[in-house]
Symmetry: C2
Subunit: 204 residues, 2 copies
Amino acid sequence: MNNPATKPTKGEATRASILDAAVRLAALEGFGALTIGTLAEKAGMSKSGLFAHFGSKDELQVATLDEAVRRYNDVAFLPALKVARGLRRLRALTNNWLHWVEASALHSCPMMSAMNEFDGRPGVMQEAITEHMQRLNNEIMRGVQMTIASGEFKADTDCEQFAFEMFGIVATSYRSRNLFQDKRALVLANRALDRLINSCLVAN
Amino acid sequence: MNNPATKPTKGEATRASILDAAVRLAALEGFGALTIGTLAEKAGMSKSGLFAHFGSKDELQVATLDEAVRRYNDVAFLPALKVARGLRRLRALTNNWLHWVEASALHSCPMMSAMNEFDGRPGVMQEAITEHMQRLNNEIMRGVQMTIASGEFKADTDCEQFAFEMFGIVATSYRSRNLFQDKRALVLANRALDRLINSCLVAN
DNA sequence: GCAATAATAATACGACCGTACTATTATTTG
DNA sequence: CAAATAATAGTACGGTCGTATTATTATTGC
């Protein structure tokens, strides 16, 4: 049974520690670097011992992506849902999204990596990352809709446009942070975000 | 001699056709998929025959990235420089950037792929992509500066912020196009771009 | 504590990896 | 046309890849 309340079996604990190493490796070097051998070394176990936890490399990759998404939900998405609907929740959604990678002490965002690695390669990973990204996009759009409903955003605010631009801000903040090593990445991102939000606010 | 005016030698022609296949492969499946074997097959030649053109896989990858950048310059950057300085040139710069991937009939942008694959992996590829991205960023910032100088942009326009947001728009348009297969990607991107540019215009 | 079972390791396999080294063709030059 | 050189192919090597099979060790239930 998958009962989180009971003490995990040894196997479950090992699997968790493998996935921890896997998420960190994928965030740093991409899913292509997730080979059974290197991962076994990082996890301090044998290739075959590790492999037994996943039926194939595909399943390992999907499990790693799912684990990354689970963490995103834990540290970013679910906490934002505790904020009251409307602009405040939307701000929480976007802000938590912007900060989740450093909050998780990862080099980069595994979802972003997965997207870039598999968007031209049909297969289970492409399906998985597409679904996750679609869901995330929908949640942002829902947040915008509720901010319209609350009267804080203009009625003609384009949800799709907002989610589109929001993702761009996150993506470019990764470039600044990871490639340019610019410590002001989050400052720039927050400014862009403010500009985006302000453009939707009802005049006052 | 590297004289573009004279007829290319057979070796140069082969190298060019290899790099053509390499750029397309990198755009579709990433630089990780650029293995000597698969590339030799796509290019219709032997592994060793292909390998002789590059001293190592590193050099092959760097050469592929350089070729992609060369194409970007040809179809996007240099044409924009022919437009008069100021807002019109800036629009050309950003617009050509947005369109260069489809104009080149590539699945995605090799520079974007390289960035995502190597931003956490020190080495020659990381250095190369960092340099290229910095240069591109600087050119956008220069374009903004000239648009300030021409009096079209507000004097306090933040060049860095503009270049930061501009890259985000490009990145998110790739997500829409390649992952979501959204045909409206460029429409959304152009709207975002207009909003960015308008926020910098002097009041009138 | 012993049998049953879960978890991990050992080993082996063919496939492909990057890269030398050698052989064979094309092409150019005298 | 022959000699020299450039371009490509052939072959081989140690390594790592993903995965299957078999063995060994931990853990659990009675």
